[in-house]
């Protein structure tokens, strides 16, 4: 982007933060010093169990924090929530955050990652024998518009020309895969393989984007630079208490999906069996010897390399690993 846009951006962000601070739209929210507004990315499901446990078990309260958990949905833009001051902390996708920072000059910084390996992948029926990108040639793949960029990058890495694969929209409904309208879908592998097997009685298989040249983090913990400066101590406490929530969850992955059936997960259409599968599958994608949220130098360089494939040249200082020492 040219410098004109960036200047306008800075001006408007200033106005935005000012507006939020004066509470004109009732979004200033965090009045007390230890209150944190946390913007999630989707409806309540096991992807966010750690935060729910930290709230219910008083882990945040023990740190002197009061966390306001806001579920997400298709209309929620986490970066927007941060820039408008609606949220202090948000979970984001690394690609959109990198674009906001590099292309548009947004003052955002990544302070941790929930998933070491993104759960996004390509899911198909085992009978279709799709084990990697090359097996997709001549097939029809349902891909959500939001993930199209990742899918295209995967094809590029595998040196498959884009016209060899028919990509159609995917609306988070696996029925077309079960019915055979499409050969594969792009989604989180923490959920769909189980549902496909449950509904169709056929074996499902998948591969992760992470394993085919796109070693991306996902559900990054992101804040604005101002928040990092002003609320650093609270952010450390937030990471510590949230990590404790995840540790508690993985101590017995069966416990909380069942426990939250009639509270956090009530009325959202999922089943306890599907949630259990989700929780057990995500464990291997999140845990690391240094603790949940940790970002190693190696992992960061691999993400920077992968982002370069999307034409995003990010600096190392997009990632701030200094908080981990205090967590």
């Amino acid at each position: 982007m040219n410098s004109l846009t960036r200047r306008q951006f800075a001006k408007a962000v200033g106005a935005g933060l000012g507006g939020a601070a004066t509470g004109v739209f009732g979004l200033g929210g965090a009045g007390a010093a230890d209150a944190l507004n946390f913007q999630s990315v989707w409806l309540n499901d096991p992807e966010f169990l750690g935060y729910m446990i930290a709230i219910d078990n008083g882990f945040y309260a023990a740190e002197g924090l009061s966390v306001n958990y806001m579920p997400g949905g298709p209309n929620i833009i986490p970066e927007g929530a941060l820039l408008s001051g609606k949220a202090d902390i948000a979970l984001t996708n690394i690609l959109t955050t990198a674009k906001a920072v590099v292309d548009k000059g947004a003052p955002l910084v990544i302070i941790g990652t929930q998933y070491q390996k993104s759960p996004a992948g390509v899911i198909s029926l085992a009978s279709a024998n799709i084990k990697g990108p090359k097996d997709l040639v001549g097939k029809t793949v349902a891909c959500p518009p939001l993930s199209r960029n990742v899918f295209d990058a995967m094809l590029k890495i595998a040196e498959i020309s884009a016209d060899k694969v028919r990509v159609v929209p995917y609306t988070f409904d696996p029925t077309p895969l079960i019915e055979g309208n499409v050969d594969a879908v792009v989604d989180f592998v923490t959920q769909i393989p189980f549902l496909v097997e449950q509904k169709s009685g056929k074996k499902a298989s998948y591969f992760l984007f992470w394993d085919v040249g796109l070693p991306l983090y996902v559900d990054l913990v992101v804040v604005t630079k101002d928040t990092l400066k002003a609320k650093r101590a609270q952010l450390v406490k937030f990471l510590r208490a949230s990590r404790k929530g995840w540790d508690e969850n993985f101590a017995d992955p069966k416990k909380y999906p069942a426990l939250y059936e009639n509270t956090w997960f009530k009325g959202l259409g999922s089943s306890p069996e599907a949630e259990l599968y989700f929780n057990e599958t995500q464990r291997g994608l999140m845990e690391t010897p240094k603790g949940v949220y940790y970002m190693s130098d190696d992992g960061i360089s691999r993400n920077i390399e992968a982002l370069a494939r999307f034409g995003e040249k990010v600096n190392r200082d997009l990632f701030d690993t200094s908080l981990f020492a205090e967590v």
């Binding site: 408007a12 579920p71 929620i76 696996p174 077309p176 509904k199």
Partner: protein, 511 residues
């Protein structure tokens, strides 16, 4: 009458049985009614909370949107210049894609307000347009009477216009009631609220659970039908008043017949102001909300993105290409939808009994959330043009049908009796009386649904085909490319305005 009711019940039962049978054969895609009922029973502890949340938001949006619509219609009738200035704004409000305003509402409004405001926005235009027609369409004998007694515009408004606008207003409110439900669900679907049918739908979508998707869809339909039915009932009870025989042909051209008396330069100035007003409001709103231009660029940023920035040529090419794919399908969908609506509305004259059966089916088709229908549309029509046209027809058909049958219903009885007295059949009645009398309603319907056809195709492109403008906006979303999204929205609104004005021009030619 009793026999007729029995027959209607028999046909209803037969339809349900056919559905049951087809559902049992079709497997996963079209669950039979028995399975859907069983699903309601299994979900009985969560449905009340979801339905209550949606009802609350829809009702609040309905009140808010209609209050604004009624006040605006009165103001526009009193000061036609105002209507001209705000015409662009009105159409923009009606045609702005939810993908653009949804995320903005979530950032700007707290709590349940995002879905309430979305419902209000959807409701505003149809009610305002219907009310304005009613306010302008008055019996000349009554207005003469008021004038003879020295009454001015205020008295005319009080004694004549407000009263005679009631049938039109109630027709608008019928459509508005179902749109309010749709808007509330659309808002819940996007904004990550804890309860609501939209939330339930989003959560259930990934579970591949057709009976549940249908149970949610039909609950939404039921809510919309209750709203529609309530206002239809009020309408039937209150609007038996006599009307002048010459009335329908005298529908004033609300696109500015009073402005027609102005000079050329003045008209040009008004036109320019009407074009500029939405852009000025756009800039003002963004300044007032202080939103980051990353997600909410202003008009200057958007125009410079399309025409000045280094990448503007590529952006223009991408956008034009997408519009080129979308536009012909939308036009086809508009024409087919209007034709279908006219055909079925003519049943109200030709086959009144059949017409009564069509309405519930039309209501179900109109109000079932499109995402729940997607697997079936996919099965029946595939992913290409046919599916997109079908989705456009689905969106266009219902509001057009309501307006057209309203037009047919308001045909003066004296004129109909004349045809009958001379031995003319129902076809003659349709051709000679009902159609000419309701032609202004056909134009009103075309104006109302032309923008909707474009939105319908965009939804199909997003859900099914993965082409065109609908897909471009969603892919841009994945790239956080809000410059492109707002540019696309601006173009789609401009197309809608152009479609609206072309219908208006056609209407003027017709007269």
């Amino acid at each position: 009458m009793k026999l007729e009711r029995l027959r209607a019940i028999a046909i209803g039962v037969a339809l349900l049985l056919i559905w049951e049978l087809v559902g049992r054969l079709a497997g996963r895609l079209l669950p039979p009614p028995s399975e859907i009922l069983a699903q309601y029973w299994r979900d009985r502890d969560v449905f009340p909370a979801h339905i209550w949340a949606t009802t609350r938001s829809a009702a609040a949006g309905f009140l808010l949107g209609n209050a604004a619509a009624i006040l605006a219609a009165i103001a526009f009738c009193r000061f036609p210049l105002l209507e001209q200035l705000f015409r662009g704004v009105n159409i923009a409000l009606f045609t702005v894609p939810a993908i653009v305003i949804g995320p903005i509402f979530v950032l700007v409004f707290p709590g349940d307000l995002p879905q309430i405001v979305l419902a209000a926005v959807l409701v505003y235009f149809p009610t305002m347009a219907a009310m304005l027609v009613g306010l302008n369409e008055i019996d000349p004998r009554l207005s003469d009477l008021v004038r003879i007694y020295g009454g001015r515009e205020a008295a005319l408004m009080r004694f004549v216009r407000l009263r005679s606008s009631l049938p039109s207003l109630l027709a608008g409110l019928k459509v508005a009631a179902s749109l309010a439900v749709l808007g509330a669900i659309l808002g819940e679907f996007g904004s990550g609220v804890r309860w609501g049918l939209g939330t339930f739908l989003l959560g259930s979508l990934s579970q591949g659970d057709a009976p549940r998707l249908w149970s949610i869809g039909l609950a939404a339909t039921g809510l919309a039908m209750i709203g529609y039915g309530a206002f239809a009932l009020i309408g039937a009870k209150t609007t038996g008043a006599t009307k002048a025989v010459t009335l329908a042909n005298k529908l004033p051209d609300r696109l500015g017949d009073r402005a027609g008396r102005r000079g050329g330069a003045q008209r040009l100035a008004i036109l320019l102001a009407a074009i500029l007003t939405p852009f000025v409001l756009w800039e003002a709103l963004i300044a007032a909300t202080g939103l980051s231009p990353i997600i909410a660029p202003g008009p200057i940023e958007t125009l410079s993105y399309l025409f000045v920035s280094p990448d503007s040529a590529a952006a223009r090419a991408t956008l034009l290409n997408a519009v080129g794919e979308t536009l012909p399908i939308a036009a086809l969908g508009l024409v087919s939808g209007l034709a279908a609506a006219f055909l079925l509305a003519s049943f109200t004259v030709l086959q009144p009994r059949l017409a009564r059966l069509v309405l519930p089916v039309a209501l179900v088709a109109q109000n079932i959330p499109l995402v729940a229908l997607t697997p079936i549309v996919l099965l029946l029509f595939g992913r290409e043009t046919l599916a997109s046209v079908f989705m456009a027809v689905l969106v266009v058909f219902f509001p057009a049908y309501v307006l057209l049958s309203q037009g047919f219903a308001l045909t003066p009885h004296a004129a109909r009796d004349l045809v009958r007295a001379y031995g003319g059949g129902r076809f003659k009645e349709l051709r000679l009386i009902a159609t000419p009398y309701s032609i202004s309603y056909l134009f009103a319907a075309a104006k109302l649904v032309a923008p909707q056809a474009l939105l319908g195709v965009m939804v199909a492109e997003w859900l099914l085909s993965g082409r065109g403008l609908g897909n471009l906006l969603n892919v841009s979303r994945g790239n956080l490319d809000y410059d492109m999204i707002w540019a696309g929205a601006m173009v789609s609104i401009l197309i809608s305005v152009a479609a609206y004005q072309s219908v208006a021009a056609l209407e003027r030619l017709w007269r």
